[in-house]
């Protein structure tokens, strides 16, 4: 926890996202974007933690985020994703979807595209709750129960999936729609694929809490982690559907985001309304009794007790251990205690950024992964 400090930014942060770095350069990310919520004037901002040539900022210590530029945003920022290194897309509580372009030379943000009523009710605004990007396509999901596909260069929506009536899911299940959206993006089929996954979620037995977040294992696409209203972290094997492989009591309140580490997927991060951000790590090839048996307690073991075994990973990932007793799971708290709700997190390499309702951003550049 030594490397983490709060930067107070005078806006409640709903989303933080690292600007993607080109994989070839293996750099650590230096620039991230944040979206705010619950302000009269919400903003999308770009920050940098790199070293600056224009330092007149003696009081900032190394790694202190400095704001580069910002742009106003209508409505709360409910989701924010980078399309590529310069463009990002935001989903708004007014139902609008906007593409912003960040100009690194002039440190400005401009609006490239704006779909004002991507999601709406007949007489009201319907918030756009989540979006997924795969350049140039953007797939968005909203409380009105529709999935809309946009293309970055086209004016209108490319496709609208989900008729108003029969596919209306309760809004807190929108994120399960997000997963099916991911499948849609891959299979590019309009009807079949989307039917699959929601049914899987429909089958779960003991756990009927609405889902808030979903993430796929970067390499093994059948492994999915979800988190929801009850703060439980569930790991699923999509091939087997039905019930989750493991259930862990991660948090005492809603889990807002779950993320697999993109290059080191034995690590998982979750953040929650209860103000904690947990770093989960599986260690394969261990004789210790499985943390996942029964899966009901979440203790915090100080990090460093176990290092993950390097080298060859078994094909069935450590996340799917279930009761087999082969794996062990460690959790570490990454933030000082008594922070307010952590709404969002993002991790690339060794850099973790998260934003809270206490109007603070935390950046950790030395996450042990």
């Amino acid at each position: 926890m030594e490397n983490i400090n709060a930067k107070y930014v005078s806006q409640k942060i709903s989303k933080t996202r690292w600007c993607p770095v080109s994989y070839s350069s293996l750099q650590q990310p230096e620039v991230f974007a944040t979206g705010s919520w619950d302000n009269e004037d919400n903003k999308v901002s770009i920050w940098s933690i790199g070293n600056h040539n224009n330092s007149g900022l003696e009081d900032g210590f190394e790694g202190d985020p400095q704001i580069l530029c910002e742009h106003k945003h209508g409505g709360d920022v409910l989701d924010l994703q980078f399309l590529d290194q310069e463009r990002m897309v935001s989903a708004s509580s007014t139902g609008a979807v906007t593409i912003f372009r960040y100009h690194p030379n002039t440190h400005t943000i401009s609006v490239l595209q704006h779909w004002a009523r991507a999601h709406s009710y007949p007489c009201d605004n319907a918030p756009c709750t989540a979006l997924v990007c795969s350049s140039p396509e953007i797939v968005t999901v909203g409380e009105d129960g529709r999935i809309v596909v946009f293309r970055a260069d086209q004016e209108g929506a490319v496709r609208v999936i989900g008729e108003m009536r029969t596919r209306m899911l309760p809004p807190h299940k929108e994120s399960s729609l997000k997963l099916s959206v991911v499948f849609v993006r891959e299979c590019r089929q309009q009807h079949n694929s989307r039917g699959d996954l929601p049914k899987d979620h429909g089958g779960f037995d003991g756990d009927r809490a609405p889902l808030h977040c979903v993430d796929r294992h970067p390499n093994q696409q059948h492994i999915v982690a979800t988190g929801g209203q009850d703060g439980m972290l569930c790991v699923w094997d999509v091939r087997q559907g039905g019930t989750p492989i493991s259930l862990m009591e991660a948090h005492s309140a809603e889990m807002w985001e779950v993320r697999f580490h993109p290059t080191n997927p034995d690590h998982l991060f979750t953040c929650s309304e209860d103000g904690s951000l947990l770093h989960w790590e599986t260690a394969s090839h261990s004789e210790m009794p499985s943390f996942l048996q029964g899966g009901r307690n979440s203790s915090v073991i100080s990090h460093g007790a176990l290092t993950p075994a390097g080298g060859n990973r078994p094909l069935s990932s450590a996340w799917l251990c279930g009761d087999s007793g082969k794996g062990c799971l460690e959790t570490t708290h990454m933030l000082p205690s008594q922070t307010m709700s952590v709404n969002s997190l993002d991790i690339i390499g060794q850099c973790l950024v998260c934003g809270t309702d206490g109007e603070a951003i935390f950046v950790n550049r030395h996450v042990p992964v």
């Binding site: 919520w37 619950d38 409910l78 029969t166 209306m168 899911l169 009927r208 307010m340 206490g358």
Partner: protein, 600 residues
Amino acid sequence: DLKSVLSLSIQNIPALRRGKHMGFAWGQGNIFVYETLFKATGSGSPFIHEVRKDEDIYSPILRKLFNESHHIFVGLQTIREDLPSKNKKPQFVSISKNYRSVIRACMEELQQVAGYPLIRSVLLQVSILLAIELIWNLCEVLFIDAAPAGSLLLHLLDWVRLHKADVDEKARDVLQSDSPAEHRDYWDVPGGTQTLTEFDVKWRHWHEEVDRCLQDNSFASNQHLEVLCKILLGDEDTLLEHKDLLGTWYHFLVSRLLFCHPTVKPTELHYYAQSCMTMFLDSRSAPEPLDSILLAAFEFDIHQVIKDCSIALNNWWFVAHLTDLLDHCKLLQSHNLHFGSNLREFLLLEYASGLFTHHSLWQLAVDYFDHCLEFGRVYLELQIERVPLDTERKALKVLRICEQRQMSEQVRSICKIMAMRALRNNRLGSALSWSIRAKDAAFATLISERFLQDYCAKGTFSDLDLIDNLGPAMLLSDRLTFLGKYREFHKLYGEKRFKEAAKLLLSLMTAKIAPRSFWMTLLTDALPLLEQKEVIFSADQTYELMFCLEELTSSLNTPSSDSDKSMQEEDVELTKVELLRLALSRNLAMAIVKEGTVET
């Protein structure tokens, strides 16, 4: 100028025309003001003006102050009560320093923003923060750290030096050349290697030495040195001559104490303070609010300090946090106010209520209310319902706050609002989820009815996912249970598990889960099962179905049944009944035969 900043202000409302009457209404943290006419004639102005008392919470830089201090506040509340007080004092001092560093950080940021040209309003804010930090620092030295004689003066020196450096950079350079700091080396750190009396003796010795030098005119040749000497002796007149260097009466006070009474005891402070203030200030000018506050502090009258600060400042932030800290140090006698709560709680409640009016900072206020044991909960219950629920996400957060504190009334009310909103947009599934969360049986019944009506109208269900996964929530209301079970029937039918479907269908009627109005639909649903080649309903089951049908038709035939049905509708009804009767009898026949047959 620091002093004039803390004073009562009168706000002109420029938009109101001169000579007009002003009407007003209190809001939460603000006043609505409008032009009004007592006579009925003449034109009026259609505008309402909002006068907000506290603009600070809308300043982006000051917002950081609120957030950071909230963090410190929560940390302070969780210090364990059972630690002995000598262990706690350093913690309290450190917390006090934390608060102050937050204030200073804000100040510095504001100063950076003020820049050139100097923005007046920002400078004003900076001045207020300066004043606040000055007062807080003094309170820390006198009350929290409670420095004893000896180290008291050192702390006061630090205090003055810190603020002198803030206010007047140029003076600092000059001051350092005359600075008493050089003479600090005369003394060892208090409490270090020598006792107070030892030090006192040494000091008196030195003082006499200097005095003798002066009397001897040893410095007569050099004017500056002579002045310096007189200062060292604490000669009042000399000191007063350098008023502009000193700047403030409290600087004068500390200087005088330094040179005349370095071993001053805390209890003696107020004599010197009063006299210094009188000497320093012109007799014609009345003491400014800041001066009286500082004087009250020197007199160790905590309540007076708090009271004066409350009046002078436009925001409860300072007094609330300071009082809370002093209360933790057990320095406030529990001073019961007329309306029941104590001073600390009163101030915290006022501050938090002010926060609640802010569209974003209301979340911080929740923690403050939590730590007001007597009235906090009530205040929270009243305020939390007024948070505007623009999005689902926000509603979920508010709900979480209420559920964690078992505020079931508020949970219900919030869920009802969200459910109504969903209903208005025809999102039945969403509305149902909200009413399940609120455990609101009545509303769940209402929504289930809508679902069923939808089904009757369209022949299909919406929001299947939700209904299929109700789980134990199904038992919330009878209608909801029926909805869930009915959907189950459809599923079974779809999976061609006809016997189970049939059994379920029958039980819906016999167990009276289904409302009577729906029985016709259920019986109609039974038709395809009856018409199957294979016998699905057993004879007993068929009898029961017939019984249900008879019950239904007899109630339909009673004179009280609605006679405004058109002839066509009645025909349809009759046909349906006849069809049913036919199907039932046929099924009965087949069932009897089947059950009577002995398989060989």
